[in-house]
């Protein structure tokens, strides 16, 4: 890296200061109700309307790591990396079917996390616990990866420090960024990322629109970009402009599997439950694709990086740096600063929401359920705030202590793991047919099978966990391991439910009623609802 890009750094720091101020002021934004209640800190008072939810979910789901990793995958492999586009296209129609039900039942019973729902629906503490732990486990590496996103930007800015820099100097900017993030998340809760998301999304839209118009003009048009990329792939044999025939299954299964996993992540659920009405959720499923369009355009930046010769001739070039480097090469310095601010703030928003979601899970489903059942709402809020700090420190240690590859591997695994909660959660939203022990066994089977399969995959970068696709038993095609594990999970759950039902095994108490699943804010059902039971 040759020196520090001062104009870009100044712009970057200015934006960072702006969102820091907003983060602290956010605690006064739309404040209502009882500040000591977890609903306030952890769900923003369940008060967000359509637009706030749209910005919040957009800021939440389309993370800095996405911005860096999706074009990086296209840069490295071509068509195969484009699967993020069908993934996000499929996701919203799919979740349209069940998220409104999850919102309604959570509103009626005061559920804060998906594990709260599982507890109330099946009356099973062990099942609820594993759903909560899976959520925490899948979220931790995801937070760590947001740091990787910031690191990539800092490296290209020239403040990441060289290889020979003292580790403390090298990581000081990262410490600062995360320290500030931790402080305002602690004080403002979900309101902070909700407010900052406005800035983040606005910046991201501006940068992407400028990038997909301005960069192709400088590079001689899309035709030239794709021709160059085609030649590049012909020479390096690293990828291709269309999928090899044996990769079509992988592409489709990765798309649908990732889409199913997306709204099982605790931070997605937090974003959904924070909205004020069932209709807000539905409306958002119809307007979220605006972000998918942005993501698709962003993916094309990978080809532009190839055409611009980023990293060409450098052996073992870190493809994660390709897009930040492309921005630095193509844009005037001040606009590079804007682009990097978009990525940097793009890391802070999801990192805040993820740490809040993980803290909610721990507080509700581990602390209150197992450690201190008598905890008051004020206790819950206090614990959740502290845990949100711990989670961030953990992510920081993770990134600094372990290598970056480990974080990427674990994030891939996280998607696979979180998908294993789908049967219990989505199944439960429609039927009480499944037996909770059958779901537990299905979850365990999916987790073990998926992890074991992923362990056996080597890649040039890593000996284990080097990929996410393997042969699907019985079909013979190469498919996403997470989806295969999900299929196994479903089969085990169905078969064991049949067995347990035949054996008349006792079932837990279901505290929900059919009408809870279609309740809208302001409905009579809601007002008359009994005080939450499992919501303790």
């Amino acid at each position: 890296m040759t020196g520090v890009n001062v104009p870009a750094l100044v712009v970057f720091v200015l934006f960072f200061l702006l969102v820091t101020v907003m983060g602290f002021l956010a605690s006064r934004w739309r404040r209502a109700g009882d500040a000591a209640h977890l609903d306030e800190w952890g769900l923003g008072g369940r008060s967000f309307g359509t637009w706030v939810t749209w910005f919040l979910l957009g800021g939440d789901l389309y993370t800095a790591y996405t911005f860096v990793a999706v074009p990086a995958a296209v840069y490295a492999t071509g068509a195969a990396g484009f699967f993020a586009v069908p993934y996000t296209i499929v996701a919203y129609p799919l979740v349209f079917l069940f998220l409104p039900r999850l919102w309604s039942v959570s509103r009626v019973h005061g559920y804060v996390t998906p594990a709260d729902f599982v507890r109330g629906r099946y009356g099973s503490r062990p099942l609820s616990l594993v759903v909560a732990l899976t959520g925490i486990l899948a979220t931790m590496p995801y937070i760590a990866l947001q740091l990787v996103g910031i690191q990539a930007v800092l490296d290209v800015l020239g403040v990441g420090g060289g290889e020979n820099a003292n580790w403390f100097v090298k990581d000081l900017p990262l410490f600062l960024a995360f320290g500030v993030l931790a402080a305002y998340t602690y004080s403002s809760g979900l309101r902070a990322p909700a407010l900052i998301a406005f800035v983040k999304d606005a910046l991201v839209y501006i940068v992407i629109i400028v990038a997909v118009i301005y960069i192709p003009i400088r590079l001689g048009g899309y035709g030239h970009i794709f021709d160059t990329a085609a030649q590049h792939f012909k020479q390096t044999r690293a990828g291709s402009l269309t999928l090899p025939a044996n990769k079509e299954w992988t592409y489709a299964t990765l798309g649908i599997g990732s889409a199913m996993a997306l709204f099982m992540y605790p931070h997605s659920v937090t974003g959904v439950l924070a909205s004020k009405s069932r209709n807000t959720v539905r409306r958002n499923m119809a307007i979220m694709p605006a972000y998918s369009l942005m993501l698709g355009l962003l993916a094309l930046l990978g080809f532009m990086a190839i055409a611009a010769g980023v990293g060409s001739g450098v052996k073992g070039y870190n493809s994660q740096l390709s897009v930040p480097q492309l921005f630095a090469n193509m844009f005037p310095d001040w606009f590079t600063g804007v682009a990097f601010a978009a990525i940097g703030i793009g890391a802070l928003v999801p990192a805040a929401i993820m740490s809040i979601a993980a803290a909610n899970l721990f507080t509700r489903n581990v602390y209150k359920e197992w450690l201190k059942p008598a905890a008051t709402p004020a206790d819950e809020t206090r614990v959740a705030k502290l845990v949100s700090l711990l989670v961030k420190v953990g992510a920081l240690v993770f990134v600094l202590g372990m290598d970056r590859q480990a974080a990427i591997n674990l994030q891939l695994l996280g998607g696979l793991w979180i998908l294993q909660t789908f049967v219990a959660i989505v199944g439960g939203l429609f039927t009480r047919w499944f037996h909770h022990w059958a779901l537990f066994a299905g979850w365990a089977a999916g987790m073990v099978y998926g992890t074991w399969k992923a362990y056996g995959i080597a890649s040039p970068a890593t000996k284990h966990f080097g990929g996410n696709a393997a042969e699907i038993p019985g079909i013979g095609e190469i498919g996403y391991i997470g989806l295969t594990a999900f299929a196994l999970n479903l089969i085990v759950s169905v078969v064991l439910t049949l067995v347990l039902r035949a054996a008349k095994a006792p079932v837990g108490q279901d505290e929900t009623r059919p009408s809870d699943y279609s309740a809208e804010a302001g409905d009579e059902e809601r007002e008359n609802a009994p005080e939450p039971v499992a919501a303790h």
């Binding site: 068509a79 484009f82 586009v85 069908p86 996000t88 296209i89 499929v90 919203y92 129609p93 799919l94 349209f96 079917l97 009356g123 048009g221 899309y222 035709g223 030239h224 970009i225 794709f226 021709d227 402009l241 269309t242 999928l243 025939a245 079509e248 299954w249 592409y251 489709a252 798309g255 649908i256 209709n279 539905r282 409306r283 499923m285 119809a286 307007i287 694709p289 605006a290 998918s292 369009l293 698709g296 355009l297 094309l300 039927t431 009480r432 047919w433 039902r501 079932v507 837990g508 108490q509 279901d510 009623r513 009408s515 279609s518 809208e520 059902e525 009994p530």
Partner: protein
Amino acid sequence: MPSDHAPTTEPVMPEPAGTPVPAVTPERVLAGIALLVPIVAMLWVSSYNKTDPAAAGMPFFYWYQLLWVPVSAVFTVAAYLLINRDEKARKAARKGGAR
């Protein structure tokens, strides 16, 4: 479907009488189809795994999928409107029955 209710002490909310709306209505079916179309289109990878015809220099594979983003949004909006209509009808039927 086997009964999915554990016995509870509190009485289950009386399901409203009156003109009940059946579980399967044309609105719900159409909404289901509208949601299914984009999913099927995207999972059918072999239908778009090719470079020609290109548009403005962009291979088919890419512009076709990008085009599906707004198209899928149109289908989801249609589903939203249909479900909204269906829920309004249900609510009206419930209110009518409760009197």
